[in-house]
């Protein structure tokens, strides 16, 4: 039983039992958080999405064709962990190489990368003391038909020539659809989150300055923003991407260049309202520096649009990335991406390869819907409007 307090935000009638529970005055954010938690659809969406996102950082251990552990002639090896460490940015180089040839583990005739799935079958057939422990889903998003046993267009739940079952089938190059989908989730969400942060980094200071200083500066920059907003930005990004072939970072910057306008407009309006209030005048009077007034005094009061806009910014970020990938102008191949999977799916739709389209679609729908649910609940918690209806 939670404390029952007078809650202006939710307009709930206060029921106080003075003897049992003392009245606790909650901060506005505590109250908003409480309201958010009470909106179950959004709250569970947040938990689910957060859980999936955190889990997605462990994908190199969960969904990979590298074995978690190999015991070969009495020694233990951990290829998946090693490959994960090597893939880390900056410090990755310290861990050397993650390459083990097939022959190294006694896979005869395979001088290339060891095929741990076959290795496991081989060790089991040999019945010796060698062991391979595979990842829970032992396929990688990039391994294609060049890896022995992979076939293109394997329908879901059917066995490939080595007898392995692919959960969601394989695509036109024999790559595992489930693995690509999972890695695509991590990439899409990370991309959209970073993009939204970048947008804020550009948009919030500009909007704050416009609202705070106003006057001619405001009018001038407003005109420029209007011009900027009139540019059909996704089309322009498509054109530029078709010319330059961007990588992850360039694509982020390119999109951020055009998407910051949305939050700027909101922040400007908020600052415009706030700066007329007494506390700003008081701060000015005692000589607080302007930047300090803007970012320490007004900004905390202007958080509502900042927070409520965020989920929707992430949604449009994912949408933009998927659209660009779909056209082939997004992240460079063979990056696992939903947009690229959909474009392959559309190509092979007429020939009945439905699973190529279905999997990324469902993943996209689910992810976006979860974020929109979160966004809706956040908006409701932060910006409550209750309607009373007569009759």
């Amino acid at each position: 039983m939670g404390d029952r307090v007078l809650d202006r935000d939710t307009q709930q009638v206060a029921v106080q039992r003075v003897t049992e529970e003392p009245v606790v005055s909650l901060s506005i954010f505590q109250r908003r958080w409480r309201k958010f938690k009470s909106l179950r659809r959004g709250y569970y969406s947040l938990l689910l999405l957060l859980g999936a996102y955190v889990l997605s950082f462990f994908l190199p251990l969960l969904v990979t064709n590298k074995a978690l552990a190999v015991r070969y002639e009495g020694r233990w090896y951990f290829p998946a962990v090693q490959s994960w460490l090597v893939s880390l940015p900056l410090i990755g180089k310290l861990f050397g190489s993650d390459f083990y040839s097939g022959e190294f583990f006694g896979q005869r005739g395979n001088a290339g990368e060891c095929n741990y799935r076959l290795l496991q079958q081989q060790y089991e057939a040999e019945g010796g003391r060698n062991i391979v422990i595979l990842a829970p889903y032992p396929y990688s998003p990039l391994e294609d038909v060049t890896v022995q046993g992979n076939v293109a267009f394997l329908p879901p739940l059917e066995r490939d020539p080595n007898g392995f079952v692919r959960l969601l089938g394989t695509d036109d190059r024999g790559r595992d659809v489930f693995a690509r989908m999972a890695y695509g989730f991590q990439i899409s969400l990370s991309f959209a989150l970073i993009l939204a942060l970048l947008e804020y980094l550009i948009g919030v200071p500009i909007g704050a300055a416009l609202g705070f200083f106003g006057g001619r500066f405001d009018i001038l920059v407003q005109r420029l923003i209007e011009i900027w907003a009139t540019v059909p930005f996704l089309f322009l990004v498509i054109i530029v991407a078709s010319i330059v072939r961007p990588n992850f970072i360039l694509l982020l910057l390119l999109l951020a260049l055009f998407t910051w306008v949305g939050i700027t407009v909101l922040i400007r309006a908020e600052f415009y309202r706030e700066k007329a209030k007494d506390y700003v005048a008081a701060a000015l009077a005692i000589g607080v520096p302007r930047w300090k007034i803007m970012f320490k005094h007004i900004l905390p009061n202007a958080l509502v649009p900042i927070i409520t806009y965020f989920p929707f910014s992430v949604v449009s970020g994912i949408g933009a990335l998927v659209s660009l990938d779909f056209l082939g102008f997004g992240l460079p191949p063979p990056t696992p991406s939903w947009g690229e999977m959909m474009s392959v799916g559309l190509q092979h739709l007429a020939t009945g390869k439905w699973w190529l389209m279905l999997s990324p679609m469902v993943a996209l729908f689910l992810t976006l819907t979860l974020i929109v649910f979160i966004g809706e609940s956040v908006r409701e918690a932060f910006d409550p409007r209750t309607f009373s209806r007569l009759r």
């Binding site: 011009i227 059909p232 530029v240 078709s242 779909f326 959909m342 559309l346 739709l349 309607f387």
Partner: protein, 413 residues
């Protein structure tokens, strides 16, 4: 108020110029733009190996300097960016045609015209050999002589650009861009209009029903559906619907894209309408889904807000029926906020649907321009950009105008 709209109209001019300048600059400055693409293509055609992925900087190894210069002139790269932009607009003279001639000899300059270049003390004079009068707009510049013969390049300058209705000629279709766009506009317009009407009529009705049953299971379920629709890009939903209903994998109900059947011409009128409708269903859903959420929610909230107002209380108090109060009193005021969206949504339908047209293989303006991006057909790309900018600009004005018409209280200053 008319003064306000006049001012708005005048303000579109700087915005139009600014927005097109932004697009123009970004595309022109991007490494590997039109000129470099052409040079690459030329090099490939000449059988030259492209060295180490180099694009800019190392031009001219295989291509003669004169051809390079020709290309630069053709794309206007012999001029600074701003002049290039102005001549693209048609505010600065550009070279319209060019011929190589020998001074003192008559040269055919196409369309039955002839020209005679005469050397004078300070340059050249270009005459019409028949009348002996000077030809307007023609200029000549010396060229390196060939086989001991003096040669000049004869060219005509003139104003021709976006503002004079010349969007250039498409590289792939070899037709004027304006003509290509106009040919395909009706198709896009049909989808846009049907989508627009459908989404407004459904959303208004749905919004009303949701407002009247606020908090009911119907409200919650439809909210969920509407928000799922909001979050998904229209083209993605379209592709999903194609998968479900356009192929044999699930239920084959609708065609796998296209605008009409191959045998369309042989059908009777009724069959023609049915055929169109059959092709229209899935794309129209994809078109409308994006605007659905915002319209429905706006409508619902506006009606809810109005229903809690005093004048509604008064109307109920004086004994009017609920139907009358809602449909006559509250609804009129609730329409206002969604009217403000008209311009934006029209813009979305006209210029925001290139991905949907691509997915459904509909030969509209959008598909034309996205395929132009693939083919690097820059005149079409620029043409579509201009169209998109114009649609956005006039959409905003249209919104204000509609708002002023619907709400007599609104007075624009």
């Amino acid at each position: 108020m008319w003064e306000y709209f006049l001012r708005r109209l005048l303000l579109t001019i700087p915005t139009f110029l600014g927005a097109t300048l932004v697009v123009f600059t970004i595309i022109q400055l991007a490494p590997g733009g039109p000129l470099e693409q052409q040079i690459m293509a030329l090099r490939m055609a000449m059988g030259g190996e492209v060295a180490g992925g180099g694009l800019a900087g190392q031009t001219g190894a295989m291509i003669p300097e004169s051809a390079l210069e020709e290309l630069r002139r053709y794309y206007g790269f012999d001029k600074p960016l701003l002049l290039r932009y102005l001549s693209w607009l048609g505010l600065w003279p550009r070279e319209l045609e060019s011929y190589i001639a020998t001074p003192g000899r008559i040269r055919n300059i196409g369309q039955g015209r002839q020209a005679l270049v005469e050397k004078t003390a300070d340059g050249y004079r270009i005459l019409d050999p028949q009348t002996g009068q000077e030809l307007k707009g023609w200029h000549a510049e010396p060229q390196p002589s060939e086989h001991g013969q003096e040669r000049v390049r004869l060219y005509r300058l003139g104003f021709s650009g976006v503002l004079t209705g010349n969007f250039g000629t498409s590289y792939t279709y070899n037709e004027p861009v304006m003509q290509l766009i106009l040919q395909r506009l009706p198709v896009s317009l049909q989808f846009g209009l049907i989508g627009f009407i459908l989404s407004y009529s459904i959303c208004i009705y749905l919004g009303i029903q949701k407002a009247l049953s606020h908090g009911s299971p119907f409200d919650l379920v439809s909210s969920t559906l509407v928000f799922i629709g909001y979050s998904i890009p229209g083209w993605a939903l379209g592709a999903f619907l194609l998968m479900l209903f356009g192929t044999q994998s699930f239920i084959e109900l609708f065609p796998l894209g296209g605008f009409q059947s191959d045998y369309y011409a042989e059908l009777s009128l009724l069959e023609k309408i049915a055929d169109r409708a059959w092709h229209f269903v899935l794309p129209t859903i994809a078109y409308t889904v994006g605007s659905f959420a915002s319209l429905t929610v706006l409508m619902k909230n506006a009606l809810l807000e109005n229903l809690s107002q005093d004048y509604i209380r008064t109307a109920f108090a004086k004994g009017l029926s609920e139907k009358r109060v809602i449909w006559l009193h509250a609804l009129r005021n609730s329409i206002i906020p969604i009217t403000a969206n008209i311009g934006y949504i029209i813009g979305l339908f006209l210029a925001g649907s290139y991905l949907i047209e691509l997915v459904f293989n509909i030969d509209g303006v959008g598909k034309l321009s996205i395929e132009a991006v693939f083919a690097r057909d820059y005149p079409i790309v620029f043409g579509f950009t201009v169209l998109a900018v114009l649609v956005r600009l006039f959409g905003a004005i249209l919104s204000d105008l509609a708002l002023a018409l619907v709400d007599p209280r609104i007075r624009f200053k």
